[in-house]
Symmetry: C2
Subunit: 323 residues, 2 copies
Protein backbone atom coordinates (compact mmCIF):
# COMPACT_ATOMS: atom_id res chain seq x y z
CA UNK A 1 0.00 0.00 0.00
CA UNK A 2 1.24 3.50 -0.81
CA UNK A 3 1.54 5.97 2.06
CA UNK A 4 -0.72 8.26 0.04
CA UNK A 5 -3.47 5.62 0.43
CA UNK A 6 -2.97 5.11 4.16
CA UNK A 7 -2.72 8.87 4.84
CA UNK A 8 -0.45 10.80 7.19
CA UNK A 9 -2.44 10.12 10.34
CA UNK A 10 -2.89 6.42 9.52
CA UNK A 11 0.86 6.13 9.13
CA UNK A 12 1.52 7.92 12.43
CA UNK A 13 -0.86 5.48 14.16
CA UNK A 14 0.95 2.52 12.62
CA UNK A 15 4.41 3.74 13.67
CA UNK A 16 3.19 4.73 17.14
CA UNK A 17 1.88 1.18 17.62
CA UNK A 18 5.19 -0.28 16.44
CA UNK A 19 7.20 1.93 18.77
CA UNK A 20 5.05 1.07 21.76
CA UNK A 21 5.92 2.32 25.22
CA UNK A 22 8.29 0.50 27.52
CA UNK A 23 10.00 3.41 29.23
CA UNK A 24 8.70 4.05 32.72
CA UNK A 25 9.76 7.72 32.73
CA UNK A 26 7.99 8.45 29.43
CA UNK A 27 4.81 10.48 29.94
CA UNK A 28 3.81 11.25 26.34
CA UNK A 29 5.18 9.36 23.33
CA UNK A 30 4.37 9.61 19.62
CA UNK A 31 1.18 11.44 18.66
CA UNK A 32 1.04 14.64 20.71
CA UNK A 33 2.54 18.08 20.00
CA UNK A 34 5.74 17.02 21.73
CA UNK A 35 7.12 14.08 23.64
CA UNK A 36 7.35 14.40 27.42
CA UNK A 37 9.24 12.47 30.03
CA UNK A 38 10.04 12.84 33.68
CA UNK A 39 13.52 14.35 33.97
CA UNK A 40 15.56 14.46 37.13
CA UNK A 41 13.84 17.57 38.44
CA UNK A 42 11.27 18.61 35.85
CA UNK A 43 9.28 17.28 32.93
CA UNK A 44 11.35 17.33 29.73
CA UNK A 45 9.79 18.09 26.34
CA UNK A 46 11.04 17.40 22.82
CA UNK A 47 9.57 17.88 19.38
CA UNK A 48 10.79 17.76 15.79
CA UNK A 49 9.33 19.30 12.62
CA UNK A 50 10.47 19.20 9.02
CA UNK A 51 10.24 22.08 6.60
CA UNK A 52 10.66 20.93 3.01
CA UNK A 53 11.12 23.15 -0.07
CA UNK A 54 8.14 22.93 -2.38
CA UNK A 55 6.02 21.32 0.34
CA UNK A 56 6.19 23.60 3.39
CA UNK A 57 7.65 26.62 1.66
CA UNK A 58 8.69 27.99 -1.69
CA UNK A 59 11.45 30.60 -1.89
CA UNK A 60 9.16 32.57 -4.25
CA UNK A 61 6.60 33.30 -1.52
CA UNK A 62 8.84 33.04 1.55
CA UNK A 63 12.21 34.83 1.74
CA UNK A 64 14.97 32.73 3.33
CA UNK A 65 15.03 34.74 6.53
CA UNK A 66 11.33 34.03 6.99
CA UNK A 67 11.84 30.34 6.14
CA UNK A 68 14.23 30.22 9.10
CA UNK A 69 11.85 32.10 11.36
CA UNK A 70 8.89 29.89 10.43
CA UNK A 71 10.77 26.62 10.66
CA UNK A 72 11.69 27.45 14.25
CA UNK A 73 8.35 29.10 15.12
CA UNK A 74 6.45 25.95 14.17
CA UNK A 75 8.58 23.99 16.61
CA UNK A 76 8.35 26.50 19.43
CA UNK A 77 4.60 26.40 18.95
CA UNK A 78 4.64 22.66 19.69
CA UNK A 79 6.30 23.38 23.03
CA UNK A 80 3.75 26.16 23.67
CA UNK A 81 0.97 23.63 23.06
CA UNK A 82 2.44 21.44 25.81
CA UNK A 83 2.58 24.34 28.27
CA UNK A 84 6.37 24.25 28.27
CA UNK A 85 9.34 26.57 27.93
CA UNK A 86 11.64 25.98 24.93
CA UNK A 87 15.35 25.90 25.65
CA UNK A 88 17.60 24.25 23.03
CA UNK A 89 17.31 23.62 19.29
CA UNK A 90 19.11 21.28 16.90
CA UNK A 91 18.95 22.11 13.20
CA UNK A 92 19.39 19.52 10.45
CA UNK A 93 19.85 21.35 7.14
CA UNK A 94 19.69 19.67 3.74
CA UNK A 95 21.11 21.91 1.02
CA UNK A 96 21.75 21.61 -2.69
CA UNK A 97 25.08 22.16 -4.44
CA UNK A 98 23.55 25.33 -5.83
CA UNK A 99 22.38 26.71 -2.49
CA UNK A 100 23.77 30.19 -1.93
CA UNK A 101 25.74 30.69 1.29
CA UNK A 102 24.04 34.06 1.78
CA UNK A 103 20.61 32.38 1.56
CA UNK A 104 21.67 29.83 4.18
CA UNK A 105 23.01 32.65 6.35
CA UNK A 106 19.72 34.55 5.91
CA UNK A 107 17.75 31.44 6.86
CA UNK A 108 19.92 31.02 9.92
CA UNK A 109 19.65 34.67 10.92
CA UNK A 110 15.85 34.47 10.77
CA UNK A 111 15.99 31.46 13.03
CA UNK A 112 18.40 33.17 15.43
CA UNK A 113 16.26 36.30 15.62
CA UNK A 114 13.31 34.28 16.87
CA UNK A 115 15.52 32.06 19.04
CA UNK A 116 16.94 35.10 20.83
CA UNK A 117 13.47 36.48 21.41
CA UNK A 118 12.46 33.28 23.22
CA UNK A 119 15.75 32.51 25.00
CA UNK A 120 16.41 29.47 22.82
CA UNK A 121 20.00 28.42 22.02
CA UNK A 122 20.86 26.55 18.82
CA UNK A 123 23.23 23.93 20.19
CA UNK A 124 23.85 21.62 17.29
CA UNK A 125 22.82 20.33 13.95
CA UNK A 126 23.75 18.54 10.80
CA UNK A 127 24.40 19.68 7.24
CA UNK A 128 23.97 17.38 4.29
CA UNK A 129 23.69 17.58 0.54
CA UNK A 130 20.31 16.80 -0.96
CA UNK A 131 18.45 17.45 -4.21
CA UNK A 132 16.35 20.07 -2.41
CA UNK A 133 16.45 22.31 0.64
CA UNK A 134 14.92 20.88 3.80
CA UNK A 135 15.19 21.81 7.46
CA UNK A 136 14.36 19.55 10.39
CA UNK A 137 14.44 21.32 13.73
CA UNK A 138 14.34 19.56 17.06
CA UNK A 139 13.35 21.65 20.00
CA UNK A 140 14.00 20.70 23.60
CA UNK A 141 12.24 22.28 26.50
CA UNK A 142 10.85 21.66 29.90
CA UNK A 143 7.77 22.23 31.95
CA UNK A 144 8.35 24.54 34.92
CA UNK A 145 5.55 22.76 36.82
CA UNK A 146 4.73 19.08 36.98
CA UNK A 147 1.80 19.71 34.63
CA UNK A 148 1.60 19.58 30.84
CA UNK A 149 -1.06 20.10 28.17
CA UNK A 150 -1.91 17.02 26.09
CA UNK A 151 -4.30 16.21 23.26
CA UNK A 152 -5.78 13.23 25.02
CA UNK A 153 -7.43 14.69 28.12
CA UNK A 154 -10.57 16.37 26.70
CA UNK A 155 -13.84 15.38 28.37
CA UNK A 156 -17.46 15.59 27.26
CA UNK A 157 -19.14 18.74 28.53
CA UNK A 158 -15.99 20.87 28.36
CA UNK A 159 -15.90 24.14 26.44
CA UNK A 160 -13.74 24.36 23.27
CA UNK A 161 -11.87 27.67 23.15
CA UNK A 162 -9.17 29.33 21.11
CA UNK A 163 -6.62 32.10 21.67
CA UNK A 164 -6.31 35.00 19.23
CA UNK A 165 -7.95 35.23 15.83
CA UNK A 166 -7.84 32.88 12.89
CA UNK A 167 -7.46 32.89 9.11
CA UNK A 168 -4.78 35.53 8.64
CA UNK A 169 -1.92 33.15 7.82
CA UNK A 170 -3.84 31.31 5.10
CA UNK A 171 -5.08 34.64 3.74
CA UNK A 172 -1.50 35.94 3.79
CA UNK A 173 -0.33 33.02 1.67
CA UNK A 174 -2.93 33.84 -0.99
CA UNK A 175 -1.75 37.45 -0.97
CA UNK A 176 1.88 36.32 -1.30
CA UNK A 177 0.94 34.12 -4.23
CA UNK A 178 -0.53 37.21 -5.90
CA UNK A 179 -4.03 35.75 -5.84
CA UNK A 180 -5.45 38.77 -4.08
CA UNK A 181 -4.60 42.51 -4.21
CA UNK A 182 -5.22 44.52 -1.05
CA UNK A 183 -4.51 47.99 0.32
CA UNK A 184 -0.93 48.28 1.64
CA UNK A 185 -1.84 48.01 5.32
CA UNK A 186 -3.96 44.86 4.91
CA UNK A 187 -1.37 43.45 2.53
CA UNK A 188 1.43 43.84 5.09
CA UNK A 189 -0.67 42.59 7.98
CA UNK A 190 -1.73 39.37 6.27
CA UNK A 191 1.64 38.61 4.68
CA UNK A 192 3.21 39.08 8.09
CA UNK A 193 0.77 36.66 9.69
CA UNK A 194 1.96 34.01 7.25
CA UNK A 195 5.67 34.87 7.32
CA UNK A 196 6.14 35.61 11.02
CA UNK A 197 3.87 33.37 13.07
CA UNK A 198 4.17 33.86 16.83
CA UNK A 199 4.62 30.84 19.07
CA UNK A 200 2.32 31.34 22.04
CA UNK A 201 4.65 30.24 24.84
CA UNK A 202 3.24 32.66 27.44
CA UNK A 203 -0.32 31.61 26.60
CA UNK A 204 0.58 27.91 26.96
CA UNK A 205 2.05 28.57 30.40
CA UNK A 206 -1.05 30.56 31.33
CA UNK A 207 -3.34 27.71 30.29
CA UNK A 208 -1.44 25.28 32.52
CA UNK A 209 -1.52 27.78 35.38
CA UNK A 210 -5.28 28.18 35.13
CA UNK A 211 -5.86 24.43 35.22
CA UNK A 212 -6.31 23.64 31.52
CA UNK A 213 -5.24 20.07 30.67
CA UNK A 214 -5.96 19.79 26.93
CA UNK A 215 -4.48 21.85 24.11
CA UNK A 216 -3.07 21.70 20.58
CA UNK A 217 -1.59 24.41 18.38
CA UNK A 218 -3.42 25.22 15.17
CA UNK A 219 -1.07 24.20 12.40
CA UNK A 220 -3.15 22.05 10.02
CA UNK A 221 -6.37 24.02 10.51
CA UNK A 222 -8.90 24.60 13.30
CA UNK A 223 -11.22 21.73 12.34
CA UNK A 224 -8.40 19.28 11.57
CA UNK A 225 -6.63 20.07 14.83
CA UNK A 226 -9.82 19.89 16.88
CA UNK A 227 -10.32 16.50 15.27
CA UNK A 228 -6.89 15.48 16.59
CA UNK A 229 -8.02 16.31 20.12
CA UNK A 230 -11.26 14.33 19.56
CA UNK A 231 -9.34 11.31 18.27
CA UNK A 232 -6.74 11.34 21.03
CA UNK A 233 -9.36 11.91 23.76
CA UNK A 234 -11.98 9.59 22.22
CA UNK A 235 -14.62 12.26 22.31
CA UNK A 236 -16.55 14.36 19.79
CA UNK A 237 -16.85 18.12 19.39
CA UNK A 238 -19.55 20.52 18.30
CA UNK A 239 -18.12 23.64 16.72
CA UNK A 240 -20.32 26.73 16.29
CA UNK A 241 -18.75 28.22 13.19
CA UNK A 242 -20.21 31.71 13.68
CA UNK A 243 -18.42 32.02 17.03
CA UNK A 244 -15.02 31.38 15.44
CA UNK A 245 -12.92 34.58 15.80
CA UNK A 246 -12.05 35.45 12.21
CA UNK A 247 -9.25 38.00 11.89
CA UNK A 248 -10.94 41.35 10.92
CA UNK A 249 -8.67 42.06 7.93
CA UNK A 250 -9.49 38.61 6.57
CA UNK A 251 -13.20 39.29 7.03
CA UNK A 252 -12.97 42.55 5.10
CA UNK A 253 -10.69 41.30 2.35
CA UNK A 254 -12.04 37.80 1.81
CA UNK A 255 -15.72 38.34 2.81
CA UNK A 256 -17.50 35.07 1.95
CA UNK A 257 -14.30 32.96 2.06
CA UNK A 258 -13.04 34.36 5.39
CA UNK A 259 -14.76 31.74 7.54
CA UNK A 260 -13.38 28.90 5.43
CA UNK A 261 -9.84 30.30 5.84
CA UNK A 262 -10.35 30.50 9.61
CA UNK A 263 -11.76 26.96 9.84
CA UNK A 264 -9.33 25.11 7.60
CA UNK A 265 -6.55 27.45 6.50
CA UNK A 266 -4.11 26.47 9.23
CA UNK A 267 -0.71 27.92 10.19
CA UNK A 268 -2.20 30.40 12.67
CA UNK A 269 -0.35 28.72 15.55
CA UNK A 270 -2.98 29.91 18.01
CA UNK A 271 -3.74 27.53 20.88
CA UNK A 272 -6.94 25.48 20.76
CA UNK A 273 -7.92 24.14 24.18
CA UNK A 274 -10.73 22.54 26.14
CA UNK A 275 -11.68 23.10 29.77
CA UNK A 276 -14.65 23.65 32.07
CA UNK A 277 -16.65 26.87 31.58
CA UNK A 278 -15.23 28.12 34.87
CA UNK A 279 -11.62 27.60 33.81
CA UNK A 280 -12.23 29.15 30.36
CA UNK A 281 -13.61 32.24 32.15
CA UNK A 282 -10.50 32.41 34.34
CA UNK A 283 -8.27 32.11 31.25
CA UNK A 284 -10.24 34.91 29.53
CA UNK A 285 -9.68 37.22 32.49
CA UNK A 286 -5.99 36.42 32.88
CA UNK A 287 -5.00 36.42 29.19
CA UNK A 288 -3.69 39.47 27.38
CA UNK A 289 -4.97 38.11 24.04
CA UNK A 290 -8.56 37.40 22.99
CA UNK A 291 -9.87 34.02 24.19
CA UNK A 292 -13.08 32.81 22.52
CA UNK A 293 -15.36 29.90 23.37
CA UNK A 294 -16.31 28.29 20.05
CA UNK A 295 -18.04 25.05 20.94
CA UNK A 296 -18.09 22.10 23.26
CA UNK A 297 -16.78 18.59 23.68
CA UNK A 298 -19.43 15.89 23.29
CA UNK A 299 -19.67 12.19 24.00
CA UNK A 300 -19.76 11.54 20.25
CA UNK A 301 -17.02 11.10 17.69
CA UNK A 302 -15.35 13.59 15.33
CA UNK A 303 -16.09 17.27 14.81
CA UNK A 304 -19.60 18.48 13.95
CA UNK A 305 -19.90 21.99 12.52
CA UNK A 306 -23.11 23.91 13.15
CA UNK A 307 -24.35 27.40 12.33
CA UNK A 308 -26.08 29.66 14.85
CA UNK A 309 -29.43 27.94 14.32
CA UNK A 310 -27.73 24.62 15.12
CA UNK A 311 -28.00 23.43 11.52
CA UNK A 312 -25.12 21.43 9.98
CA UNK A 313 -22.48 23.56 8.29
CA UNK A 314 -20.61 22.13 5.32
CA UNK A 315 -16.86 22.62 4.89
CA UNK A 316 -15.06 21.65 1.69
CA UNK A 317 -11.78 20.57 3.32
CA UNK A 318 -11.01 20.18 7.01
CA UNK A 319 -7.32 21.02 6.78
CA UNK A 320 -3.91 19.96 5.72
CA UNK A 321 -2.83 16.32 5.59
CA UNK A 322 0.51 15.37 4.07
CA UNK A 323 -0.70 12.28 2.21
Amino acid sequence: MKVSELGEFGLIDLLAKMAGGGDERLLIGIGDDAAAWQGDDSIQLASVDSFVEGVHFTPETTPWQEVGWKALAVNLSDIAAMGGIPRYALVALSLTDDSEVEDVAALYSGMLKLAKQYGVTIVGGDISRAPLVAIAITILGSSPTQKILTRSSAQAGEIVAVTGQLGAAAAGLEVLKGQRRLDPEADTRLKNAFLHPTPHIAEGLLLVDQGVKTAIDISDGLVADLNQICKASQVGARLEVERVPVEPTVKTAFSERALELALSGGEDYELLFTASAEIVDKVKKAASCPVTAIGEITAGKGVTLVDKEGNPFKLAKAGWEHF
Copy 2:
Protein backbone atom coordinates in the same frame (compact mmCIF):
# COMPACT_ATOMS: atom_id res chain seq x y z
CA MET B 1 28.90 32.08 -3.10
CA LYS B 2 27.56 28.56 -3.53
CA VAL B 3 27.73 26.25 -0.53
CA SER B 4 29.64 23.85 -2.79
CA GLU B 5 32.42 26.49 -2.98
CA LEU B 6 32.51 27.18 0.76
CA GLY B 7 32.42 23.48 1.66
CA GLU B 8 30.55 21.66 4.41
CA PHE B 9 33.00 22.48 7.17
CA GLY B 10 33.30 26.11 6.12
CA LEU B 11 29.55 26.41 6.32
CA ILE B 12 29.43 24.78 9.77
CA ASP B 13 32.05 27.29 10.98
CA LEU B 14 29.99 30.17 9.62
CA LEU B 15 26.77 29.01 11.25
CA ALA B 16 28.52 28.19 14.54
CA LYS B 17 29.88 31.74 14.63
CA MET B 18 26.43 33.16 13.92
CA ALA B 19 24.82 31.05 16.66
CA GLY B 20 27.44 32.05 19.22
CA GLY B 21 27.15 30.96 22.84
CA GLY B 22 25.19 32.88 25.41
CA ASP B 23 23.78 30.07 27.52
CA GLU B 24 25.62 29.59 30.78
CA ARG B 25 24.60 25.91 31.12
CA LEU B 26 25.81 25.03 27.62
CA LEU B 27 29.04 23.02 27.70
CA ILE B 28 29.43 22.09 24.01
CA GLY B 29 27.60 23.83 21.18
CA ILE B 30 27.80 23.43 17.40
CA GLY B 31 30.80 21.53 16.02
CA ASP B 32 31.26 18.43 18.18
CA ASP B 33 29.69 14.97 17.88
CA ALA B 34 26.81 16.12 20.06
CA ALA B 35 25.74 19.15 22.03
CA ALA B 36 26.15 19.00 25.81
CA TRP B 37 24.69 21.06 28.59
CA GLN B 38 24.49 20.84 32.34
CA GLY B 39 21.12 19.34 33.26
CA ASP B 40 19.60 19.38 36.73
CA ASP B 41 21.51 16.30 37.87
CA SER B 42 23.66 15.17 34.93
CA ILE B 43 25.14 16.38 31.67
CA GLN B 44 22.58 16.18 28.86
CA LEU B 45 23.57 15.27 25.29
CA ALA B 46 21.76 15.80 21.98
CA SER B 47 22.66 15.15 18.38
CA VAL B 48 20.88 15.13 15.03
CA ASP B 49 21.81 13.43 11.74
CA SER B 50 20.08 13.37 8.38
CA PHE B 51 19.93 10.38 6.08
CA VAL B 52 18.93 11.37 2.56
CA GLU B 53 17.99 9.00 -0.29
CA GLY B 54 20.57 9.11 -3.07
CA VAL B 55 23.10 10.83 -0.79
CA HIS B 56 23.43 8.70 2.35
CA PHE B 57 21.73 5.61 1.02
CA THR B 58 20.16 4.09 -2.07
CA PRO B 59 17.41 1.49 -1.70
CA GLU B 60 19.31 -0.61 -4.30
CA THR B 61 22.29 -1.21 -1.99
CA THR B 62 20.58 -0.81 1.39
CA PRO B 63 17.29 -2.57 2.17
CA TRP B 64 14.79 -0.40 4.10
CA GLN B 65 15.26 -2.27 7.36
CA GLU B 66 18.99 -1.53 7.18
CA VAL B 67 18.32 2.11 6.26
CA GLY B 68 16.45 2.37 9.56
CA TRP B 69 19.19 0.59 11.48
CA LYS B 70 21.94 2.75 9.99
CA ALA B 71 20.10 6.04 10.37
CA LEU B 72 19.78 5.37 14.10
CA ALA B 73 23.22 3.76 14.49
CA VAL B 74 24.94 6.87 13.11
CA ASN B 75 23.22 8.93 15.79
CA LEU B 76 23.91 6.54 18.63
CA SER B 77 27.54 6.61 17.55
CA ASP B 78 27.59 10.38 18.11
CA ILE B 79 26.50 9.83 21.71
CA ALA B 80 29.14 7.08 22.05
CA ALA B 81 31.77 9.56 20.89
CA MET B 82 30.75 11.87 23.75
CA GLY B 83 31.02 9.08 26.31
CA GLY B 84 27.28 9.18 26.93
CA ILE B 85 24.31 6.85 27.18
CA PRO B 86 21.55 7.33 24.57
CA ARG B 87 18.01 7.45 25.85
CA TYR B 88 15.36 8.99 23.57
CA ALA B 89 15.03 9.44 19.82
CA LEU B 90 12.86 11.67 17.64
CA VAL B 91 12.41 10.68 14.01
CA ALA B 92 11.53 13.15 11.24
CA LEU B 93 10.54 11.17 8.14
CA SER B 94 10.15 12.69 4.69
CA LEU B 95 8.31 10.34 2.34
CA THR B 96 7.08 10.47 -1.23
CA ASP B 97 3.52 9.85 -2.38
CA ASP B 98 4.80 6.60 -3.86
CA SER B 99 6.51 5.38 -0.69
CA GLU B 100 5.23 1.93 0.24
CA VAL B 101 3.81 1.59 3.74
CA GLU B 102 5.59 -1.75 4.11
CA ASP B 103 8.93 -0.10 3.27
CA VAL B 104 8.30 2.56 5.91
CA ALA B 105 7.34 -0.16 8.40
CA ALA B 106 10.53 -2.08 7.50
CA LEU B 107 12.62 1.06 7.99
CA TYR B 108 10.97 1.64 11.33
CA SER B 109 11.41 -1.97 12.44
CA GLY B 110 15.15 -1.79 11.66
CA MET B 111 15.36 1.31 13.78
CA LEU B 112 13.37 -0.27 16.62
CA LYS B 113 15.53 -3.40 16.60
CA LEU B 114 18.64 -1.32 17.26
CA ALA B 115 16.80 0.99 19.65
CA LYS B 116 15.70 -1.96 21.78
CA GLN B 117 19.23 -3.32 21.86
CA TYR B 118 20.48 -0.04 23.33
CA GLY B 119 17.54 0.80 25.57
CA VAL B 120 16.52 3.75 23.41
CA THR B 121 12.85 4.78 23.15
CA ILE B 122 11.46 6.51 20.06
CA VAL B 123 9.33 9.20 21.67
CA GLY B 124 8.23 11.36 18.80
CA GLY B 125 8.73 12.53 15.30
CA ASP B 126 7.26 14.16 12.25
CA ILE B 127 6.06 12.86 8.91
CA SER B 128 6.00 15.02 5.82
CA ARG B 129 5.66 14.65 2.10
CA ALA B 130 8.75 15.35 0.01
CA PRO B 131 10.05 14.54 -3.46
CA LEU B 132 12.44 12.00 -1.91
CA VAL B 133 12.85 9.90 1.22
CA ALA B 134 14.86 11.46 4.03
CA ILE B 135 15.20 10.71 7.72
CA ALA B 136 16.48 13.09 10.37
CA ILE B 137 16.95 11.49 13.76
CA THR B 138 17.59 13.39 16.95
CA ILE B 139 19.04 11.42 19.78
CA LEU B 140 18.98 12.55 23.39
CA GLY B 141 21.20 11.08 26.03
CA SER B 142 23.12 11.85 29.14
CA SER B 143 26.49 11.36 30.69
CA PRO B 144 26.41 9.19 33.81
CA THR B 145 29.46 11.04 35.16
CA GLN B 146 30.27 14.74 35.02
CA LYS B 147 32.79 14.00 32.26
CA ILE B 148 32.39 13.97 28.49
CA LEU B 149 34.57 13.33 25.45
CA THR B 150 35.06 16.30 23.12
CA ARG B 151 36.96 16.99 19.92
CA SER B 152 38.68 20.04 21.29
CA SER B 153 40.82 18.73 24.14
CA ALA B 154 43.70 16.98 22.30
CA GLN B 155 47.20 18.04 23.37
CA ALA B 156 50.58 17.81 21.69
CA GLY B 157 52.47 14.69 22.80
CA GLU B 158 49.36 12.55 23.25
CA ILE B 159 48.97 9.20 21.50
CA VAL B 160 46.33 8.84 18.77
CA ALA B 161 44.48 5.52 19.07
CA VAL B 162 41.49 3.79 17.58
CA THR B 163 39.09 1.05 18.68
CA GLY B 164 38.41 -1.97 16.45
CA GLN B 165 39.49 -2.36 12.83
CA LEU B 166 38.89 -0.14 9.84
CA GLY B 167 37.93 -0.31 6.19
CA ALA B 168 35.21 -2.97 6.29
CA ALA B 169 32.24 -0.63 5.83
CA ALA B 170 33.67 1.09 2.75
CA ALA B 171 34.70 -2.30 1.35
CA GLY B 172 31.18 -3.61 2.03
CA LEU B 173 29.66 -0.77 0.02
CA GLU B 174 31.80 -1.70 -2.99
CA VAL B 175 30.67 -5.32 -2.63
CA LEU B 176 27.03 -4.21 -2.40
CA LYS B 177 27.46 -2.13 -5.54
CA GLY B 178 28.67 -5.29 -7.32
CA GLN B 179 32.12 -3.81 -7.87
CA ARG B 180 33.85 -6.78 -6.24
CA ARG B 181 32.99 -10.50 -6.06
CA LEU B 182 34.13 -12.37 -2.94
CA ASP B 183 33.68 -15.79 -1.33
CA PRO B 184 30.35 -16.02 0.56
CA GLU B 185 31.83 -15.58 4.03
CA ALA B 186 33.85 -12.47 3.15
CA ASP B 187 30.90 -11.15 1.14
CA THR B 188 28.55 -11.43 4.15
CA ARG B 189 31.08 -10.04 6.60
CA LEU B 190 31.83 -6.90 4.59
CA LYS B 191 28.24 -6.23 3.54
CA ASN B 192 27.25 -6.55 7.17
CA ALA B 193 29.90 -4.05 8.25
CA PHE B 194 28.30 -1.51 5.91
CA LEU B 195 24.66 -2.38 6.62
CA HIS B 196 24.79 -2.93 10.39
CA PRO B 197 27.35 -0.60 11.94
CA THR B 198 27.66 -0.92 15.72
CA PRO B 199 27.56 2.20 17.86
CA HIS B 200 30.30 1.82 20.45
CA ILE B 201 28.47 3.05 23.53
CA ALA B 202 30.29 0.75 25.98
CA GLU B 203 33.66 1.76 24.53
CA GLY B 204 32.80 5.46 24.86
CA LEU B 205 31.93 4.96 28.52
CA LEU B 206 35.14 2.99 29.03
CA LEU B 207 37.21 5.81 27.51
CA VAL B 208 35.68 8.33 29.91
CA ASP B 209 36.23 5.95 32.83
CA GLN B 210 39.91 5.56 31.98
CA GLY B 211 40.46 9.31 31.83
CA VAL B 212 40.33 9.93 28.06
CA LYS B 213 39.12 13.44 27.24
CA THR B 214 39.21 13.58 23.42
CA ALA B 215 37.31 11.38 20.96
CA ILE B 216 35.34 11.38 17.72
CA ASP B 217 33.54 8.57 15.91
CA ILE B 218 34.85 7.62 12.47
CA SER B 219 32.06 8.51 10.08
CA ASP B 220 33.71 10.54 7.31
CA GLY B 221 37.00 8.59 7.35
CA LEU B 222 39.95 8.16 9.71
CA VAL B 223 42.07 10.98 8.26
CA ALA B 224 39.14 13.39 7.85
CA ASP B 225 37.91 12.74 11.39
CA LEU B 226 41.40 13.02 12.89
CA ASN B 227 41.62 16.33 11.07
CA GLN B 228 38.44 17.42 12.88
CA ILE B 229 40.14 16.74 16.21
CA CYS B 230 43.21 18.70 15.06
CA LYS B 231 41.09 21.64 13.95
CA ALA B 232 38.97 21.75 17.10
CA SER B 233 42.02 21.30 19.40
CA GLN B 234 44.32 23.56 17.35
CA VAL B 235 46.98 20.88 17.13
CA GLY B 236 48.48 18.67 14.42
CA ALA B 237 48.70 14.89 14.15
CA ARG B 238 51.24 12.45 12.74
CA LEU B 239 49.58 9.26 11.57
CA GLU B 240 51.73 6.17 10.92
CA VAL B 241 49.68 4.53 8.18
CA GLU B 242 51.20 1.07 8.58
CA ARG B 243 49.99 0.89 12.18
CA VAL B 244 46.37 1.48 11.15
CA PRO B 245 44.39 -1.71 11.97
CA VAL B 246 42.94 -2.72 8.62
CA GLU B 247 40.14 -5.30 8.87
CA PRO B 248 41.69 -8.69 7.79
CA THR B 249 38.97 -9.53 5.23
CA VAL B 250 39.53 -6.14 3.61
CA LYS B 251 43.28 -6.82 3.50
CA THR B 252 42.75 -10.16 1.77
CA ALA B 253 40.05 -9.04 -0.63
CA PHE B 254 41.28 -5.56 -1.52
CA SER B 255 45.07 -6.05 -1.13
CA GLU B 256 46.68 -2.83 -2.40
CA ARG B 257 43.52 -0.71 -1.87
CA ALA B 258 42.83 -1.97 1.68
CA LEU B 259 44.84 0.76 3.40
CA GLU B 260 43.12 3.50 1.42
CA LEU B 261 39.71 2.12 2.46
CA ALA B 262 40.82 2.10 6.10
CA LEU B 263 42.22 5.63 5.93
CA SER B 264 39.45 7.39 4.07
CA GLY B 265 36.53 4.99 3.53
CA GLY B 266 34.57 6.08 6.56
CA GLU B 267 31.37 4.71 8.11
CA ASP B 268 33.26 2.34 10.43
CA TYR B 269 31.89 4.14 13.50
CA GLU B 270 34.89 3.07 15.56
CA LEU B 271 36.11 5.57 18.15
CA LEU B 272 39.22 7.61 17.43
CA PHE B 273 40.72 9.11 20.57
CA THR B 274 43.81 10.79 21.99
CA ALA B 275 45.35 10.39 25.44
CA SER B 276 48.65 9.96 27.27
CA ALA B 277 50.55 6.71 26.60
CA GLU B 278 49.69 5.60 30.11
CA ILE B 279 45.95 6.07 29.64
CA VAL B 280 46.01 4.38 26.21
CA ASP B 281 47.66 1.37 27.87
CA LYS B 282 44.96 1.28 30.55
CA VAL B 283 42.26 1.45 27.85
CA LYS B 284 43.94 -1.41 25.96
CA LYS B 285 43.88 -3.61 29.06
CA ALA B 286 40.30 -2.76 30.02
CA ALA B 287 38.71 -2.93 26.53
CA SER B 288 37.17 -6.07 25.10
CA CYS B 289 37.88 -4.85 21.55
CA PRO B 290 41.25 -4.19 19.89
CA VAL B 291 42.72 -0.78 20.71
CA THR B 292 45.60 0.37 18.50
CA ALA B 293 47.98 3.31 18.82
CA ILE B 294 48.37 4.77 15.33
CA GLY B 295 50.20 8.06 15.79
CA GLU B 296 50.61 11.10 17.94
CA ILE B 297 49.36 14.62 18.43
CA THR B 298 51.89 17.31 17.48
CA ALA B 299 52.22 21.03 17.97
CA GLY B 300 51.70 21.52 14.23
CA LYS B 301 48.58 21.83 12.12
CA GLY B 302 46.58 19.23 10.17
CA VAL B 303 47.24 15.54 9.71
CA THR B 304 50.57 14.30 8.35
CA LEU B 305 50.66 10.74 7.05
CA VAL B 306 53.94 8.85 7.24
CA ASP B 307 55.07 5.31 6.38
CA LYS B 308 57.19 3.18 8.68
CA GLU B 309 60.40 4.88 7.55
CA GLY B 310 58.85 8.21 8.45
CA ASN B 311 58.53 9.26 4.82
CA PRO B 312 55.41 11.17 3.70
CA PHE B 313 52.55 8.96 2.54
CA LYS B 314 50.19 10.27 -0.15
CA LEU B 315 46.44 9.75 0.04
CA ALA B 316 44.15 10.59 -2.88
CA LYS B 317 41.15 11.72 -0.78
CA ALA B 318 40.99 12.29 2.97
CA GLY B 319 37.33 11.42 3.40
CA TRP B 320 33.78 12.44 2.85
CA GLU B 321 32.66 16.04 2.74
CA HIS B 322 29.13 16.94 1.72
CA PHE B 323 30.01 19.92 -0.45
